[in-house]
């Protein structure tokens, strides 16, 4: 739209015609207060805080609904407007309780801020305020009605943003009230968006309610540890007896790739970190079969010695290593590097939930074909094949809905079940659960009687899309991905994304937690590059995958199994007998099924207690910041380094710390610095450079950036908190024929909105919510 010129408070400003006056003013730094106005949501004109004087208009006008026009003359800074704002605040406060000293929102309340800025110190209002008791609507949502100022943000974000519509407005006049959909309870996705968006303390969360004051917390924006979307969550942490405890998760920092959005897990499911079952002491199995706590030094000595002996006596191939989908890239990278160059084994794998390798191979040599999750919010057309984003990738679902709402994006779905996104879809077809591969080929032109007219119509519609984003779930793997990619690449402009399940599922794959692939999907047999860096101990034979490792153990061929942040025993149903002759070391937060089978259990920190980076399933690389701390635990990064060090490895060769200033950027100092400060003493004792230690994830990131194909991102932007899209080049896997029919080994997790793999078992809140919602569905199904 063409620009128009208008005058606000004597200043000449320009804005595109049709811009809301309030937005036009905000852009040039003229603050217009508003409660009900919220960018991206429908207009209300209800709070009347944004009233301004526009010349030639008889009454004051709401800046939130007025569009700028040429020559408009506006006054926002006059006595009349000051008085109007003050009077409006007096009216809001008329029935609003002044329980700010105990209110959750106290200190971060828009009403407080506005009263401070525009309001009056005193009030003429002397009548008794209307009071109602607080209500609990769900395991996570509380409603304090008197505090509600009826801005309707919660109703809109639930309705328009979430497409859940669990909140309504009932009654009328001063009796008007926000009401939940199940009479006195909420039957919803429990995302808590309503709480985040509430400008006052009317909606509060059970996890935070009356726990602390906002200024007593440190607020750290980091990446949610749950699903593969990689939302930024702001953790409010507070000093506790045994470290820094997380008291709140929210989306206060809206600068992440999730923008406004955060789901139930990102908001409430941090509580696993505070679970009483958390391990805080290294445990070593005693001759009597029981675990006994030992010192860290002893534990690491035992582990290092066993590892070295196994390697030296039985060869590197007798060691198996299983990494995590919830560790940082740095940890994953270092783990595979240590495995390969120190242990001399390629028996390294992780819990695969989808087939990134196949997609990388299918797109080999093509630049910029991997989509960012942001593309889901801006692409004109999106084809979602398989998966249920609402349940499994809530941010993706949010982006898709927002894209439809704001940009009229066209969404196409093909799925074997009914999914909620159908409500936004332009067209949606049902295909057989075992028909995804056939459908991918059908798209490419292979006729198949299973797919009827609706499928043909969908294919035609996709063919006519000038620009398309294809997002597919783990229903498609291997050659099905090839077929889909071939179809996509035949269209004018297509990007792809493949949906893996956990926060660093993609990172684990990118970092080479594969028996046959080095970081960046470089085949193990490829000469030069990484192989040259990793030294002579590295084998050129592909190693064992997870399942094969257990098979090897059962055959007495595995001397050591080193499990870092995974629970394969639970997933694969491994019985203790299979590991009777294998020395098992488990690094974990909890006594998982695998830990129960271990000889040594090393208690570790989780993603909220460490620094580093993670890569979401779309390939968006983001910075993880250390928020919490727990006495007694160690990060996986530290443990990997210390085990290698104690084994007698040259730590400098494993972690290029102190090699130059590039890896530092000042990030190794201060509270978010990773492990540098905490280990000052250890460093001094080892004559190591205190500024940049081997425990500093930045040192590893430095090597990742230097060596891993695709990870050529802007370091400064990343450190500043901007996500960086990484795009691996699959030329290597393309050239080697065995990758054409490589078993993907994926075991999709089938997590829902209210589950989160092993970690989910230890989140009481998530379990509570799941039970609560399960009861609701049972009632609804009756």
């Amino acid at each position: 739209m063409a620009d128009v010129t208008l005058t606000v408070d004597g200043k000449t400003i320009t804005a595109p015609a049709g811009t809301l006056l309030l937005e036009a003013c905000r852009k040039v730094g003229i603050e217009i207060p508003a409660f009900c106005y919220y960018p991206g949501l429908s207009l209300q004109a209800a709070c009347r805080m944004c009233l301004v004087r526009i010349e030639k208009m008889p009454k004051l006008q709401t800046a939130c609904t007025t569009q700028v026009t040429e020559g408009m003359i506006v006054a926002t800074d006059t006595d009349e407007i000051h008085q109007a704002r003050k009077a409006m605040l007096e009216l809001v406060l008329a029935n609003h309780p002044l329980d700010c000293p105990v209110c959750d929102a106290g200190g971060e309340c828009e009403l407080q801020d506005m009263t401070f800025k525009y309001g009056a110190g005193g009030s003429q209002f002397v009548e008794i305020k209307n009071h109602r008791e607080e209500q609990q609507w769900s395991p996570v949502v509380f409603f304090d009605r008197p505090r509600c100022i009826l801005c309707y943000r919660c109703v809109r974000v639930c309705n328009e943003g979430m497409d859940v519509a669990a909140l309504g407005i009932q009654q009328r006049n001063s009796g008007s009230v926000i009401a939940p959909n199940d009479q006195t309870q909420l039957d919803c996705e429990q995302c808590g968006m309503c709480i985040d968006i509430c400008p006052v303390g009317a909606l509060t969360s059970d996890t935070y309610r009356y726990k602390t004051r906002p200024w007593e917390m440190t607020h750290v924006g980091t990446i949610c540890t749950h699903c593969g979307d990689g939302c930024k969550t702001t953790l409010g942490v507070r000093r506790s007896d045994d470290g820094m405890q997380i008291v709140r998760g929210d989306n206060r920092d809206k600068s992440g790739l999730n923008g406004e959005f955060l789901c139930v897990k990102g908001r409430y499911a941090f509580d696993f970190a505070n679970n009483e079952e958390r391990l805080t002491q290294p445990l070593v199995r005693q001759p009597n079969g029981e675990f006994a706590p030992v010192t860290w030094e002893d534990a690491i000595k035992i582990v290092a010695q066993k590892f070295r002996v196994a390697r030296d006596d039985r060869g590197g191939a007798s060691i198996g290593v299983i990494g995590s989908t919830r560790n940082t890239n740095e940890e994953a990278y270092l783990l595979q590097k240590v495995a390969r160059s120190a242990f001399g084994t390629n028996n390294i794998d992780h819990h695969r939930t989808t087939d990134y390798v196949a997609l990388t191979r299918a797109l080999a040599g093509k630049k910029h074909r991997m989509a960012s999750i942001a593309d889901a919010g801006s692409a004109p057309a999106i084809f979602v094949l398989g998966n249920d984003p609402t349940e499994q990738h809530p941010l993706l679902a949010w982006n898709l809905r927002t894209n439809v709402r704001h940009n009229s994006a066209r969404i196409y779905l093909a799925n074997h079940r009914d999914i909620k996104l159908q409500r936004q879809a332009k067209s949606s077809i049902q295909i057989p659960a075992d028909g995804y591969a056939a459908f991918a080929r059908f798209l490419g032109g292979e006729e198949n009687s299973v797919f009827g007219e609706d499928a043909k119509a969908l294919r035609d519609a996709l063919r006519n899309e000038p620009s398309l984003l294809i997002v597919f779930g783990s229903e498609l793997r291997g050659s099905a991905i090839d077929a889909l990619a071939e179809f996509g690449l035949s269209l004018p402009d297509t990007k792809f994304a493949c949906l893996g399940d956990y926060v660093n599922s993609r990172g684990a794959a990118d970092m080479g937690l594969y028996p046959d692939l080095l970081p960046g999907y470089v085949p193990i047999e490829q000469e030069g590059g990484l192989r040259a860096e990793y030294g002579g101990r590295m084998s050129q034979q592909a190693g064992l995958d997870v399942a094969q490792m257990f098979e090897a153990a059962a055959r007495n061929e595995l001397a050591v199994l080193y499990v870092v942040g995974d629970d394969p025993a639970e997933r694969l149903g491994v019985d203790a007998d299979a590991l009777r002759n294998t020395f098992v070391v488990v690094q974990d937060m909890f006594m998982t099924a695998t830990a129960k089978l271990a000889d040594v259990v090393l208690p570790t920190s989780n993603l909220y207690e460490k620094s580093g980076t993670v890569t979401n399933t779309f390939g968006d690389l983001q910075l993880v910041k250390k928020a919490a701390d727990r006495a007694g635990v160690r990060s996986d990064l530290e443990l990997i380094v210390r085990i290698a060090d104690t084994m007698g490895e040259d730590v400098h060769a494993l972690v290029p710390f102190g090699k130059g200033v590039r890896a530092d950027m000042g990030q190794s100092r201060g509270v978010q610095s990773g492990e540098a400060d905490r280990h000052g003493i250890w460093l001094a004792a080892h004559n190591l450079e205190p500024k940049l230690s081997p425990f500093d994830p930045n040192a590893v990131l430095d090597e990742i950036q230097r060596l891993v194909p695709g990870y050529n991102f802007d370091r400064m932007e990343l450190l500043a908190g901007t996500s960086q899209h990484v795009d691996a080049d699959g030329s290597g896997v393309m050239e080697i024929s065995r990758f054409a029919n490589r078993p993907d080994g994926a075991m999709p997790s089938a997590d829902t909105l209210f589950t989160s793999g092993t970690l989910g078992h230890y989140s009481e809140k998530l379990n509570e919510v799941e039970t609560f919602q399960a009861k609701k569905s049972m009632v609804a199904a009756d």
Binding site: A45, R48, A87, L91, Q124, N130, L150, I169, S174
Partner: protein, 435 residues
């Protein structure tokens, strides 16, 4: 059955069929019914709108917007269907005129609705009555059914190429729904919350289509205007205020009732001659000239013509035609409280100033009237009302604020009298009234 009244000064246009059996469609036809619509079909939309403009008919709901102009705003071409919406959600305290129209002359509403549809190119009309008027809906529904049976509604009405459907229903108790955009919300099955404007209903209205929305009395006037000619109708009234109006006289008048008088008719004369003066020969204390939302007039202010412009000049509004007469026994604080109680009850609650303002005015006036007032309350009541005025989402806030400001301004002494100990110094006189 509401009592009908008459007075020689009346000019019966809209009320000419009252009490004459016109609910019967044949009787209605006998009394010149369904003539105008036939003429309208013949002469077309431009002629209709020209006549309506010439008539100087101004909306009878209260805002007084020229009807012909309103119709001309509806775009000729529209992708979405256009609609005619008859606002029979008569709810302004003091007003009961549409009550009589639905009761005595339902076909006039149907006929006016069809003409409006012809004028703007709408094929569907809705007649929305307030929920309390259920017995009138029964009458209306019967009339509509009769009109369908005669081919006056449905496909090819009156043998022409035009189709026109009418759907009638009631609300369920909400003053706010009388506001035109809230009425459209209600008709769409939602809460009666007004819509943000622009866009205006003439462009984006019911179901997103261009919509003409008129008060029932306005619509009932249409056929008479076409029958007598716009100019002739205009001549009955005063300058820029064409025709007649149904004035609902209530309160302490000797002969309350609904009288049809020319626009511009003198208010004093209306009270003292048409309605027989103040009951029991008492002194007049005040007059609310156009429904409870209009600022009260003192006896010294009532020598004015009752049209939109003259009442406006006198600092009040012609409003909905509800003339409420208050004699010397009335406690103005109590009257102000009862007025604000109503607006508090009916506030839709959407915007802060109306929701909170009416609530606090009610609380403060209740305390004040009960004798718990303080001197500063008087200014505060005014301050509160002034902070609502012109700042609310819809006119309901003004409807509550305007009379309150007038009560305080014009009867400040009575407010001050309440401060002196006893709850209400006028209570005694009220007992007198009952005796």
């Amino acid at each position: 059955m509401p009592r009908l009244v008459s007075h020689p000064d009346e000019v019966k246009v809209v009320s000419r069929r009252f009490g004459r059996g016109a609910t019967n469609i044949d009787r209605y036809i006998e009394l010149d019914g369904y003539k105008a619509v036939r003429q309208a079909i013949e002469k077309g939309p431009e002629w209709i709108i020209a006549e309506m403009k010439a008539s100087n008919l101004r909306g009878r709901g209260g805002a007084g917007f020229p009807t012909g102009m309103k119709w001309s705003f509806v775009p000729k071409q529209s992708e979405k269907p256009k609609y005619v919406l008859v606002n029979g959600d008569e709810s302004e305290p003091g007003t009961c005129k549409d009550h009589l129209i639905f009761l005595h002359d339902p076909h006039a509403v149907i006929e006016g609705c069809i003409v409006a549809g012809l004028a703007v190119g709408a094929k569907t009309g809705f007649i929305y009555l307030r929920g309390e008027y259920r017995y009138l809906l029964t009458i209306m529904e019967k009339a509509i059914a009769d009109a369908y049976a005669k081919g006056f509604l449905g496909k090819g009405i009156f043998g022409s190429n035009f189709d026109f459907e009418i759907i009638s229903q009631t609300g369920a108790g909400a003053y706010e729904v009388g506001e035109e955009s809230a009425l459209m919300e209600s008709l769409e099955g939602k809460r009666g919350i007004p819509r943000i404007r622009p866009p205006f209903p003439a462009v984006v209205g019911l179901y997103g289509g261009p919509t003409v929305i008129n008060n029932a009395e306005t619509i009932a006037s249409v056929s008479h205007i076409l029958n007598m000619g716009g100019e002739a109708y205009a001549k009955i009234g005063s300058n820029r205020n064409g025709g007649t109006r149904l004035f609902c006289i209530s309160g302490h008048a000797e002969r309350p009732g609904v009288y049809e008088l020319p626009m511009g008719y003198n208010l004093k004369k209306m009270i003292y001659e048409v309605a027989g003066g103040v009951r029991g020969g008492r002194q007049l204390k005040a007059v609310v000239p156009g429904g409870s939302s209009t600022p009260v007039l003192l006896p010294s202010e009532i020598d004015i013509g009752m049209d939109f412009d003259q009442v406006g000049k006198a600092g009040s509004m012609l409003g909905s035609g509800g003339v409420v007469v208050l004699d010397e026994t009335v406690c103005m604080v109590e009257f102000a409280l009862r007025t604000i109680q109503f607006y508090q009850h009916e506030s839709c609650g959407w915007c802060i100033p109306c929701r909170e303002g009416t609530d606090w005015l009610k609380k403060t006036l209740t305390r004040f009237h009960a004798g718990g007032g303080e001197a500063k309350d008087i200014d505060h009541i005014q301050y509160l009302a002034e902070n609502m005025l012109g700042r609310t989402f819809c006119p309901l806030g003004d409807a509550a604020a305007m009379p309150t400001i007038a009560f305080v301004k014009k009867f400040r002494q009575e407010f001050e009298d309440h401060l002196n100990g006893k709850p209400c110094p006028y209570a005694k006189q009220q007992e007198l009234t009952l005796a």
